[in-house]
């Protein structure tokens, strides 16, 4: 289900650092407050250098008080949305959308498994609170790299007690996904939000368990890969063009900025419309989309330019342009 999202003015009421690089923003919308459902996000108009752009952030908590809360992790080496958000001061005027939901929480399932990696906790946190309030059966597995990276964990502990299971990578703790999925009641659902590695592991394990794929729900942020974002070069022999993709810009944005005509829709690696044919890649293609299957990604014949990139080096691609 897709809902219509309207833009409106809003004001940044306050901020609070949840960790050294995760900041909670409290945003008061002007006009009518549209209540979010668990899994919702709002879009925020951001400024990336000279360029206006839009970022989606999951809503944190039920927001019963008419204030939207989002949490933004400062990612200095990505596309610049988080840097913009972190540059804001209380009282800042913002333009935001009403909530949309690509990650809706199904109701009435016999059991739920929630899996969050890092900043992926934001929608999962909201789901956990909603499920606890309903008295639903659920478990939340929250993985992150270092203990000091845990955001919202104390509050979660208070609210959901021993249904919260924390796994700190640096301390050698790993979620045994296969075992947890095996323990899930038939008809139960798994909700995943986190980096692409976690998501792919969850998809594979879920698939191997033989459970219906529609009962694995996930949301992508489209900006996490197996490799850190680096600048790379795109060569398009058909057009005789070479385009540099800076570290803080997507390949799609860089191609568009260079005047290459592109077709796209979701911009988060789901729809596959922006995919281009790979002619040659002299390095590693970091597939960050959820459109291509594992097999297709391994074949390296195409890439989703909205999210995927090269881990450095040069990629030679072909576009849809044809001489008239």
């Amino acid at each position: 289900m897709a809902e219509k999202m309207d833009w409106r003015r809003a004001r940044l009421r306050s901020m609070q650092d949840l960790t050294e690089d995760i900041r909670l923003f409290e945003i008061e919308p002007a006009g009518e407050f549209v209540a979010p459902t668990p899994g919702s996000h709002i879009n925020v108009a951001v400024q990336i250098g000279e360029r206006p752009d839009v970022r989606s952030y999951s809503i944190v908590g039920p927001c019963h008080d008419g204030v939207y809360r989002i949490a933004v992790k400062l990612l200095p080496d990505t596309r610049g949305g988080s840097r913009y958000m972190w540059s804001l001061a209380p009282g800042a005027q913002l333009t935001i959308s009403t909530p949309g939901n690509h990650f809706e929480l199904g109701l009435g399932r016999p059991e739920y498994l929630l899996l969050a990696g890092g900043i992926g906790i934001t929608p999962i946190y909201t789901m956990a609170l909603a499920l606890a309030q309903k008295g639903a059966r659920f478990r939340l597995y929250y993985a992150c790299r270092r203990r000091q990276d845990l955001a919202l964990a104390d509050h979660l502990q208070e609210q959901i007690g021993d249904r919260l299971h924390v796994f700190v990578d640096e301390e050698g703790a790993r979620v045994d996904l296969a075992a947890e999925i095996a323990n899930l009641a038939p008809g139960g659902e798994l909700y995943v939000c986190g980096p692409i590695g976690l998501l792919e592991a969850a998809k594979r394990t879920w698939h191997q368990s033989g459970r219906p794929m529609d009962q694995l729900r996930f949301e992508t942020f489209g900006n996490s890969g197996r490799f850190a974002s680096q600048p790379f070069r795109v060569r398009i022999p058909r057009l005789g063009r070479e385009v540099e993709v800076p570290q803080n810009q997507s390949m799609l944005d860089a191609l568009e900025a260079a005047g290459i005509d592109m077709i796209f829709d979701c911009r988060r690696g789901e729809c596959g419309l922006c995919a281009l044919d790979i002619v040659e890649a002299d390095g590693i293609v970091d597939h960050r989309d959820v459109f291509f299957s594992d097999e297709e990604k391994a074949e390296n014949r195409k890439l989703c330019t909205c999210v995927s990139r090269m881990a450095g080096g040069t990629i030679t691609v072909d576009t849809a342009d044809r001489a008239a």
């Binding site: 109701l107 309903k134 794929m213 529609d214 789901e270 459109f291």
Partner: protein
């Protein structure tokens, strides 16, 4: 985002008779929402948003494949939870691809759906419509689908039966209705209009059902449950046999049942039945009573149908003309008050369509 509506969304509404929903796709419009209904192989009913996620073609134009709906345009498949399980020409499925699944259940021989917030859809909130179960009370019933009037006009109609005297003269209408006093009471969610007519000549319909000579005491006890259920406990008993005191053994008792479901602001589906506790094995009588209500334009409800649609047309042509209310409208006004309160709770303080004023 929340446009003010004249109907609450957080309520169970009748969408179909149970027997109408089989293992095939059936479209309905409920509260301005297009819904496709079907019965799954486990016997349960599913209700999905009737528009494909991809290009919005009504899914009801597609087909069922097992318990999944195949869009008739590009073959996307949605399961009973509304999640996409197949997309053409790709190996994966876009994770955000789904259509809305409406809470649906069956009770009292009807399929009910909840068009509002699914988190609030409590099965215990299905209106009491047990008279329609086909057990103690017997009747066939039917539906006026897409009746061209605001659903509240039907409620007005049923909450004040003085109209029987004028609309249904010759069957159930009687001057005694207009001259007998009535009593109106209410709770937070219900309103009840009670009228007793003591020692009257029975009108033709009731004289025939009673089949005994003499004056009767006639009762009409009309019970409204917000937002749109009306049940009328009606009947006659020989005068002096104690019916007003509770002994109806020397009489005949029926009940008119109405589950009125808004289709749009100006149209509705009127699920009706007339059930009875007398001669319950007499199937011919069941058919006759049904025909007395709806019969190619000649039944009692056919007469109401004409009045209600004409009334809506007149309202549309006289947009500034308010309704004037008479003392006979007390039951209807309490019913509308309950609806207004539901709307206020649901839509907050944002203006909803006020029911007393001009439409």
């Amino acid at each position: 985002m929340t446009d003010a509506k004249s109907f609450p969304l957080n309520a169970w509404y009748a969408a179909a008779w149970s027997h109408e929903i089989e293992h095939r796709l059936e479209a309905r419009t409920i509260c301005d929402k297009d819904v496709v209904l079907f019965r799954r192989s486990d016997g349960q009913v599913s209700a999905l948003e009737d528009a494909c996620w991809h290009r919005l073609l009504p899914l009801s134009m597609g087909r069922l494949q097992g318990d999944e709906v195949v869009c008739g345009y590009h073959g996307l498949v949605f399961n009973a939870a509304g999640r996409c399980t197949y997309m053409p020409a790709q190996k994966t499925i876009n994770p955000s691809a789904c259509v809305r699944a409406y809470p649906a259940l069956e009770k009292h021989r009807l399929v009910w759906i909840w068009p509002g917030d699914p988190a609030l859809a409590d099965p215990a909130k299905v209106p009491d419509f047990h008279w329609n179960d086909g057990t103690e009370w017997v009747g066939e019933g039917g539906t006026f689908y897409n009746l061209q009037c605001d659903y509240r006009l039907v409620i007005d109609n049923l909450m004040d039966l003085t109209h029987e005297t004028y609309v249904h003269a010759g069957s159930i209408g009687d001057e005694a209705i207009t001259s007998s006093p009535f009593d109106v009471t209410h709770t937070d969610t219900t309103a009840t209009v009670t009228r007793w007519m003591i020692g009257i000549e029975p009108p033709p319909f009731w004289a025939k059902q009673l089949g005994r000579p003499g004056h009767v005491d006639r009762w009409q006890i009309i019970y409204f449950q917000a937002p749109s259920i009306v049940v009328g406990d009606v009947g006659v008993a020989l005068t002096g046999t104690g019916a007003p005191q509770g002994d109806r053994s020397q009489g005949v008792n029926g009940a008119f049942l109405a589950a009125i479901t808004p289709a749009s602001e100006k149209s509705c589906h009127y699920f009706w039945n007339f059930v009875r506790t007398f001669r319950t094995d007499d199937e011919q009588l069941t058919r006759e009573i049904n025909k007395a209500h709806v019969n190619d334009g000649r039944g009692v409800y056919d007469q109401d149908h004409v009045v209600l649609e004409s009334q809506q047309k007149a309202i549309d042509k006289n947009p500034r003309l308010p309704f004037y209310n008479l003392n006979i409208d007390a039951g209807a006004l309490w019913a509308r008050r309950m609806i207004d309160r539901m709307l206020e709770r649901e839509q907050g303080n944002s203006a909803h369509v006020p029911s007393e004023a001009a439409e």
